[in-house]
Point group: C2
Chain length 272, copies 2
Amino acid sequence: MNAIILSDGKVVPNLDPGDRGLAYGDGVFETLLVNKALPAWWDRHWNRLLRGTTSLGIPAPSEVAVRRACATLMKAEPGACVLKIICTRGAGGRGYRPPAAATPTVVVSTHPAPDPVGPVDLRWCQTPWAIQPRLAGIKHLNRLEQVLARAEWDDPEIFDGIVRDTEDRVVSATSANLFALVGGRWLTPRLDRCGIAGIVRGWLLDEVPEAAQADLSAVEVSHAEALFLCNAVRGILPVRRLGLREWPLHPAVTALRRKLAIANPAFVFEES
Amino acid sequence: MNAIILSDGKVVPNLDPGDRGLAYGDGVFETLLVNKALPAWWDRHWNRLLRGTTSLGIPAPSEVAVRRACATLMKAEPGACVLKIICTRGAGGRGYRPPAAATPTVVVSTHPAPDPVGPVDLRWCQTPWAIQPRLAGIKHLNRLEQVLARAEWDDPEIFDGIVRDTEDRVVSATSANLFALVGGRWLTPRLDRCGIAGIVRGWLLDEVPEAAQADLSAVEVSHAEALFLCNAVRGILPVRRLGLREWPLHPAVTALRRKLAIANPAFVFEES
């Protein structure tokens, strides 16, 4: 990966080992798909980042400085790549107490774009996610639960796992949101108790009249007419298998993928 | 702060901006009190660090290399200081998935020892801590809940705040464990749902026959005969006030402080 580190909007050579992002996961991040130096949905990502920093009481980083760092890195990536933006509260403060005047650190980095995949096979994860309304929805840096859930399997045939919360409601995959077609509606778990409110999930809830948030049990998900995953790097991914249940490719999923590709050409896909 | 960074046991000049400690809080830490280049309770701290890395599936760092880095830093601190050891899973892995062969990163740093304090005043925190048995007790790097709880007050008269979990059981202070004298026994909250199992708490449970773990409500804590906080930097701190309740200094707390100072001279205190 190539990376640029900013402190208070200025490029610095290294990460301060006293940064609160390392010490406490005291920050947020965004992962964007880039095509020909154009990041998909910059505004949606930047606005979510600001909602996260505001919620944690971290001063907003300079958008101009972050955009400049992103542009520098993207110049070296003529094709598709993934752009990651981490924003922390910066160094300092005694212990957990946030410093009165924090100076945010931003780490921008580029990574190879993932290879395209067809309909994906999923498993049920055993690691439950904790219920913490104060942090729910935010893409913050406290991600040990995701790491533990993702560490549950090695089988390369399994693309991702579906996670439930400690009260057994379905939340999402470890790295994508989940939609289930139930009675003609596209239901996605509410994320006011845990989970990350993804960018494509937000677009779908805004743009698809039959999409809605709901509480979903594992049984309801297993009995859905169709499932798909979505995130800002992969777009929409049809689900072929979850545990023992299998689904043929549903035309309603393909229709949503087409709608997404029209709204955002970064998500054009090859129809098989 | 002075810091030394180790990757796979060797000193490196800088922290990799792709380190999973920053990306996901994928690691653990220890905070030790040092007096005249002697860290208090090294073995207890090192063993807890190893329990944490084992629990997260992070390879154990080299104790020899970490001790050497600590010794180098402590040489520059002739009096008392605080030594912090962070151990992360290191850089790499695609997304949340841990790399098959991780190379741990260790960041060792020294910080000024805090000024001594007398009996302390506490508040009740509003931020609840989430219930996550898979991570409970471990001193891992996902500490946004502590940061949010500690950000609730600015009043320098308030030393720390007492936190409850999302099911309203008392857990601890934001940066110390809590003991309550109830019916002649020293009860401390069980930490199998959330919280950090502190080193002094562990010593007390091992060495004090009347100390035990229990579920404690806010009412039970408020009605206790005495309270104290404990952590590995402060030792035992008598509580003078919690919310509206006040306590005179209880001789049983002073007796425990003396016992601790005999077991570990780093915790000698001035009796007033």
